[in-house]
Structure formats: C-alpha cells, structure tokens
Amino acid sequence: MESAKYVSQKISKTRWRPVSYSSLQQPDIFATGSWDNEENKVSVWSIGNLGSSGLEDGFEGDPQLICEQKHDGDVLDLQTMSICKHWARAHRYPSDNAPSTGVACNSPEIVTVGEDGRIIVFRADQEGVVRVIENADSSTLHAVTYLRTTEVLTVNSIGQLKLWDLRQQSNSPSQILSLSRDRVPLYCVDRHPNQQHIVATGGQDGMLCVWDVRQGNMPFSLMEAHSAEMWEVHFHPTNPDHLFTCSEDGSLLHWETSSPSEMPSFLQGGRNSNMTSRSAMAPAGGNQSIISAWLHGDSSKSRLETTHMLPSQTLSVNSLDVLGQCLVCGTDGEAIFVNRQVPV
C-alpha cells in the first residue's frame, strides 16, 4: 500500500491541495517543503489519476514533480491559500533574523509565529503587517492554529497553550493552559474539525494530549504515543474519530476511536496501565452524542485503536497530511510516502 519515493531532499512539511467537499474526488496534488539543503525548495507533486475501475486495487502512481520554487532557509510550515505573497523579515531578533516556525490561515488572514516569540498577523490583500503581538512569549512558539475566526491557539517551548483573542488590543493571552507536571515543550497542535473546544497537542516526550479549552487548566487525556518528539498531529478533516500523529522516532500512528454506546461517559472511570486519563466530568448540556469520543480517555472503554502506518523503521517522519482517504508524509530519509487507501 505504501510506496516510498526518494526525492533527494529532506522533507519538512507536506500538505494536500484542498479539494472541494462537494466533489467526490480524492486529492491528487500535494506540496512539500524541504529543509537542511543549501537551496531549499517548495515543490508541488501530482499523483495522477487512480484507475477508474475498482479492479486497479493498489495501483500506485509515483508522485510526479509538477513545479518547484526556491525558498530561503528551511521550510518550516506550509499552508495552502489561493494567493501568494512574500513578506520578508517578519520575524527577527534585535541583531538577526529569527526563524518563523508556524503558519495558520483563515482566508484572508494569516497568522505566523516564530522563535522570537512574536505573533504576526497579515492579510492576503495588504502589503504590510497588520498586527504584531510583541513578546507574546518568552520562549519559542512552535505552532499556531485557528480556534475560531478571531481566536488563535499557540504552543511553546515551556509546555503552555495560549489562547489569543485577536479582536482585543491587549498583548496578553486570554487564557493559558499547561500541564501541572514537567513543562515539556509542545511542537504541534490541531483543533477538532467540528468541536472547536477540543484540541490535540504533541511535544517533546511524544505524548498525545487532548485538551478541552473551555474547561480548566488540565489536559483531558494523556496518551503515550511515541518514543521521541511528536512533530505533527492531525484530526481527519471529515472523520474526526480518526487522528494521525508522526514523530522523530520514525513512526506514523493512526488513532481510531469510537464512542461506546452502552455507558454514558461520566460513569466511566478507571485507569489503564499505559494511559493516564481523567474520567470525563459531565459536560454542561450532557447530551452524550455530542461528547467527543476523544474526551473519554479510557482506552478500554472507548476502544482506542492504534496502527502503525509505515512499513518499517525510517528516519524521522517530519510531516503528514490527510484528506479523504489519502495520506502523504515526508521523512528525513528524503522519502515521500503516499497511501491512498487509508481506512477511515
């Protein structure tokens, strides 16, 4: 199912080009960004059309390069938008340029964060910077995502999630959440596609944390996922019972959860030996069907399954993206893997 294509560049980010939900097409074009090269590139690839008949099971077209574009410095994050622009020197230190580590788009607004601890807001139709939140963080901000149209969530090197309300003029976050134990740096964050208060993060210790932003200061569940840094976490955009994570230890995990139908969540409790979890408090409104399966936390009851998606051990998997039934990921072994039959 998986085929590796070696591309002579270490891949730091891959993203599918979005397809409209109405069409039943599977995505076939993705972009990759490279890093650690003397000349880094953003390349666009196409995986061609699947054979129209279902008999062509397992037909794998190699990704073909469509075009590429030079990029100064390592590509640290990619988002797809319909317009393209270049803002130089947005992130900087007093004496030097600082790497920008994360980008989030909510057309036409673009938010970036960087190692200089700044949050910068751009608009696609304006030349200059729209807003800068100086000194948003004393440590490096690693990732950013939109929670609502006016709210963004950032994660940093000291294990904190910060919620920023962009409508307000203040330079401080509206909320800070963190683990009460070791302040492990967090590297990635993703929001549940339907329920905007549920957020998943991953960090240096490879633990997958699911948070409920409305409630309290604590993650809802912690799961041991990887043995090294987790670089990316993604909810499946249309089927959010599925979650994907990739890590420095060379594995890509597919998490599948299903909510049990027998017991209401607040009656479940207990601990699992390799999972620390909190049993759910009954949320306001209490209708079980709205409760996300992710907030149950107890694997034995909510049947959380994990599968490895890559055939064998590779160097670090730096990035993944999933859309429909297609998964693409890029590794430090300079290979791209495409899987077109992800069971979701």
Binding site: Y6, E38, Y93, T101, D182, A228
Partner: protein
C-alpha cells in the same frame, strides 16, 4: 609508506594566478586553498593578492541529486541488514543476504536508469558527459557487485556456478535483445543484416531455445538445406544443462555432456555443415573451439563474456577454485597488443581469484567515493567472509571503510543524519567519531538542534547534549529570549546556566522594578528545583503574588524563610528586607516576635558583612548614605514591630 598505485590527478584552481604560492588547510572532506604573499627568491610577480578562499572537494557525487537517492535508499537497506538476527548460522541466512544484495543492486540500477534518462535529455554537453561518466561508473559497480554476489555470497558449487555466471553475463549484455527486436520487427527477419549476429550472440550466451526459434525462420527460407537445419536444431536442443534442483549428480551430468560434445565434434569432423558457413561457425562454437570464439571478439565485446562462453562449451562443470586459471588465460588471449588492461579488468580478475581484499583495495583506489566498498564490505562481513585481521590502526577493514564513508557523509549539509546510523554500527571507534562529528553540525534553527539533541540523548552522549544546549541557550540569551534559554538549560539539566538565567531575571527586576516574562516564572513547575537561584526566583515571585493577593501573613512567612533557609543570595537580602518594610509598617501586626527577632538577626548579619566589605573598598559618599538610611529605617521599623508584637502576644484575649 606504500607506494602510490596511480598517478595523482592535477586540479587547477581558477583565479589563483600562475606562479603564486598556495596555502592550504585540510577539512573533513575537502581542502581550503588560498593565495599567499610568499615570494620565493627570483620571482618578481607583484600586485594585490587574491581575496578568495577556494574549497576543493574530491567527491563530486555527494552533491548529485540523483545519486543522493542512492545514498538514502542504501542507508535504509544497510540498517535493515544490521538488524538481521545473529543467532542463526550463516548458511541459513544466505537467502536473506542474497536478497539484500539484490536490493542494493536494484537501487544501483534504478539510479543508473534515471541518470541515463537525464544524460540523454540534457542539452548542456558538459553535464551530459558528466552524467554519462556517472552512468558508466554505476554500470561497472553493478557488474562488480553482481559478480561478487555470485562468487562470494551465493558461493555456488561446480555446476550451478556456470549457470550463475551465464546469468551474470546475460544481464550485462543487453544489446542482444535490442538487436533481436530490430530483426524480428523487420519485414523479413531471416534476411536482416543483423540476423546471423543475433543467432550467434544467442549461442554465445547459451540461449539455445531462442537461437533455435530464430533458426527456424532461416530454415523455412532454404528448403534445400532443410536437413542441415534440422540437424543443427536437434543438436541445440539436446545440449544438456545442469539442473541444480534435480536428481542428477554432477558426474552424471558430466558424462551426458561429454557424450553430447563428442557427437557435435563428430559432425564437425564429418564436415556436415561445411556448405553453410554460418552453421559451421555455430558448430565450432558448440564444440568450444577457442580460435573461433576469439574471432567473435566483436560480438563478445568483453573478455569475461569470452571466459563464460568458453567455460560453457568446454568446461561446464568448472569448480570455483579453478576459475582463476581460465580467467587469467582468457584475459590474456582476449587482449591483444593494442588494448591495455583497465582497472575494471583487474578488479574482475581479482574477484575470479577469490581475492576479496584485492577487489576492495582496487575499488577503493579507482572510485572517488567510499559508498561501494563500504556497503559491499559490510555485506561480505555479515556473510562471515572476511577474516577479522586487524589493520594497524586498531579497527578491522569493515569498520574502517564504514567510518570513512560516514565521515564523508557528515560533511554534507543534509546527509549527516544517515551517517549517524553508520557510526552506530561500528562498535570500536564509531561512538568516538560520532561524538566528535555531531558537535560540529551547524545549528540554524531550533528544530535542527532538537533533532541533533535527540540523536545525542538516545546514545547517552551527555557531554554533547550539554554543549549543544549551552550553545542554544547562549544564543537565546543573547537575543533576550530568556524563556527559550531556560528551557534549553532544563533539557541539559544545566544548573549553572539556570543560575545564570535567574541572575538575569533578578537583575532585570532590580533595574525595572517589575518582572519580565511572568508567564515563564509563574509556571516553572518542578523545573524550579534545578538550581537554587531558580528556586529563589520562583519563590520570590510567589511572594509578590501573595502580597498582591493581600495574603500578608503567608507572604511574610515566605519572605522570612527565603532568608533563613539561605535560599536567597546574600546580595539580594537588602532588597528582601526592603520588601519587608511595607509589611512591618502595616497597622496590623504581621510578623510575630520570633519572626522579628529573626529579621533583626538577618539585618545584623547583612550589615556586619557589608561593613567588612566597605572597610576595604571605597564607596562614594552618596551610596553609603543611602545604605545607612535604609538600614536605619529598617531598624526603626523592626523595633516598632517588635514592640507591637510583644504586646499583642502578651495580651490575653478576653
């Protein structure tokens, strides 16, 4: 010192003018060269010196994007090979080794094909020649590897040996199929000018079925000679081939083959095919006539093809140990006075002589990159074919080659990550080399530093972890990113650095009166315990918070404990005592009598140490005055507080 086997190549450095002296410095994989002002006597060249430093690199391949795929894919195969279970005896692992060898070869072939495509399609002639050269090198490499696989890894005994060699030759002589395709696609194949070439080539390669099919076409055109063709057809079909999986023993096969050989010889002596020179030629080949074979030099094109064909038709049961006799004689026969023995030929000859070391040595000299020898040696070592005799610098050959290869990889800006795995599998010197190299990887972004750190931590290289974290922390500190700096020192468990950062925070506080980066200090968590200064910082901030929340009693207790438990540095005591002032001045008694005594004690300790310090140095009058005033204020407040506290504690509530 060994004598040099080949003449060293001369590389001209552009931009350094002729006659100027060059200075140089060795780097890990290259040389830095620059122009000097040195004027040997007699020279009158003058003028400004060149202002460039030139980097001269021997290994071009590492920068080729297509060859990079070779490095990465073979890295994957290499790692897989190392993890094969060592418990099983080598015999049962042989099929695994063979399949790994085939994997390596298929990777080489894939690269070769891609290079070939690019070479053909490029318009730049210089690049085209360069690609072409790389393709021919890869071809040679694959040829050698394949032969090594047949002879060393597969180690086929007599009988199967020839079959494998036949496969080897067939694989590397692809033009026969192309010619055959041309011929078959023409209107009248039997009259195509290449027809007989194709038939003879098939016979030379032992592909008798295909030869027979081709001959049928000729036979239909010449009904008069039908009998001759039928005879030839039957001869070709009756030639025995050894079947390794069958029940026939080698001796039985040998007997059968000799019978067939005698039959063919009889027909030849009877001049059965004399009227058709082509069939006569084929018959002579079948009988194994050396002169006839030599006449087919053009079709054979290489001496090793000649060797295999000769063996096929004269000694099909050749033993591996006898191979080199035939190889040497074939080589000599094939090369006439005009052509010279190429390096490739000597390498193949060494392989036929089963001299693995010579093969590896010659390959190392000829190729400009250690990739081939490193991987091949590693595979042969796993097959237990290399005796572990030590070279005079302490490690065996496999390790030496792997280290050379990996060190070369490390100089590459991107492939260094692959190199790490190679070092891991060099038990003697690998770790030491890795420790040296990993510190020199340039760290441009945090993400790269994290990856390097992960590599070091997995291998318990604590020195390197500390040094890398220190570099990143210093950089963060210089850019005023105190939170980043702190998170780096936490990772390295570097108490000294954490102390440094806390000092910075405290200095900032003294200068500005407020804390910066509250989000960090408020949320230190267990990291606070890393260094005393850091703990103090956290607790001090807590004091401020308690004060802000008007929980004075707790604040007071905390403040006192900071001094009595000696968590606070003495230099800061003045500030702490000054912080205590507003608490002392409150209407309500906050400090108890005991606590007040302790505060006084602290104050006395402080002033006495200040006195001893002041008596030595000169301090400006103003500063002394301020200090004096502060101390006096404190003494006054303390005394007043003591009074109130004693009264309060002595009062009995009614």
């Amino acid at each position: 010192m060994e004598e040099v086997d080949v003449e060293p190549t001369v590389t001209n450095i552009p931009e350094i003018r002729h006659g100027k002296h060059m200075g140089f410095a060795w780097g890990p994989g290259d040389i830095l060269v620059y122009e000097t002002h040195f004027k040997p006597s007699g020279y009158t060249l003058s003028g400004p010196g060149g202002s460039f430093i030139h980097k001269v690199r021997k290994d071009e391949d590492i920068n080729s994007p297509i060859l990079r795929k070779l490095f990465n894919e073979s890295h994957h195969i290499f790692v897989g090979l190392q993890t094969i279970n060592d418990d099983l005896p080598s015999k049962s692992k042989r099929p695994q080794f063979i399949s790994i060898s085939r994997n390596y070869r298929s990777v080489i072939r894939a690269c070769m094909e891609e290079l070939q495509q690019v070479a053909v399609s490029t318009r730049d002639t210089e690049k085209g020649t360069q690609y072409g050269n790389q393709v021919s090198i890869l071809l040679a490499i694959e040829l050698i590897w394949n032969l090594c696989e047949v002879l060393f890894i597969d180690a086929a005994p007599a009988g199967s040996l020839l079959l494998h060699l036949l496969d080897w030759v067939r694989l590397h002589k692809a033009d026969v199929d192309e010619k055959a395709k041309d011929v078959l696609q023409s209107d009248s194949p039997a009259e195509h000018h290449n027809y007989w070439d194709v038939v003879v080539s098939y016979v030379l390669q032992g592909r008798l079925e295909e030869a027979r099919q081709m001959l049928v076409k000729q036979a239909t055109l010449q009904p008069a000679s039908r009998n001759m063709y039928k005879l030839m057809d039957s001869l070709l079909s009756k030639m025995p081939f050894y079947n390794p999986g069958g029940t026939q023993t080698l001796t039985e096969f040998d007997v059968k083959w000799r019978n067939w050989h005698e039959e063919v010889d009889r027909y030849l002596k009877d001049n059965t095919f004399a009227s058709n020179r082509h069939l006569e030629l084929i018959c002579k080949i079948l009988v194994g006539d050396e002169d006839t074979l030599l006449e087919q030099k053009e079709l054979l094109s290489t001496w090793y093809h000649f060797l295999v064909t000769r063996l096929l038709y004269s000694h099909p049961t050749v033993k591996p140990t006898d191979l080199h006799y035939y190889a040497q004689s074939c080589l000599t026969m094939f090369l006439d006075s005009r052509s010279v023995q190429e390096p490739l030929d000597s390498i193949l000859l060494a392989a036929f002589e089963f001299d693995i070391y010579l093969v590896i040595k010659d390959c190392s000299i000829v190729l400009n990159n250690w990739w081939f020898v490193a991987h091949l040696t590693d595979l042969l070592d796993h097959c237990k074919l290399l005796q572990s005799h030590n070279l005079n610098f302490g490690s065996n050959m496999r390790e030496f080659l792997l280290l050379e290869y990996a060190s070369g990889l490390f100089t590459h800006h991107s492939l260094w990550q692959c190199a790490v795995d190679y070092f891991d599998h060099c038990p003697e010197l690998g770790r030491a080399c890795l420790e040296l190299q990993i510190e020199r990887v340039p760290l441009d972004t945090e993400r790269k530093a994290l990856k390097v750190l992960r590599i070091c931590e997995e291998r318990q290289m604590s020195e390197q972890v500390r040094s890398i974290c220190k570099i990143m922390a210093m950089r963060a500190l210089r850019n005023n990113r105190l939170g980043s700096a702190l998170s780096w020192s936490i990772r390295a468990k570097d108490a000294a650095f954490a102390t440094l950062i806390s000092e910075r925070f405290l200095q900032d506080y003294c200068a500005k009166g407020t804390f910066s980066d509250l989000d960090l200090i408020d949320n230190l968590g267990p990291a606070m315990l890393l260094s005393d200064r850091l703990t103090f910082l956290g607790k001090y901030r807590e004091f401020h918070k308690l004060y802000g929340e008007k929980r004075f009693k707790e604040a007071a207790k905390l403040l006192l404990s900071l001094m009595t438990a000696k968590i606070a540095p003495q230099s800061f005591w003045m500030t702490l005592l000054t912080d205590a002032l507003p608490l002392l001045e409150q209407k309500e008694v906050i400090f108890s009598a005991d606590q007040t005594y302790e505060l006084m004690y602290c104050l006395e300790e402080l002033t006495s140490s200040l006195d001893t310090a002041a008596s030595g140095g000169e301090r400006p009058m103003q500063e002394e005055d301020v200090e004096q005033t502060k101390v006096e204020l404190l003494r006054l407040s303390l005394a007043r507080n003591l009074a109130m506290a004693i009264i309060k504690e002595g009062t009995v509530e009614t």
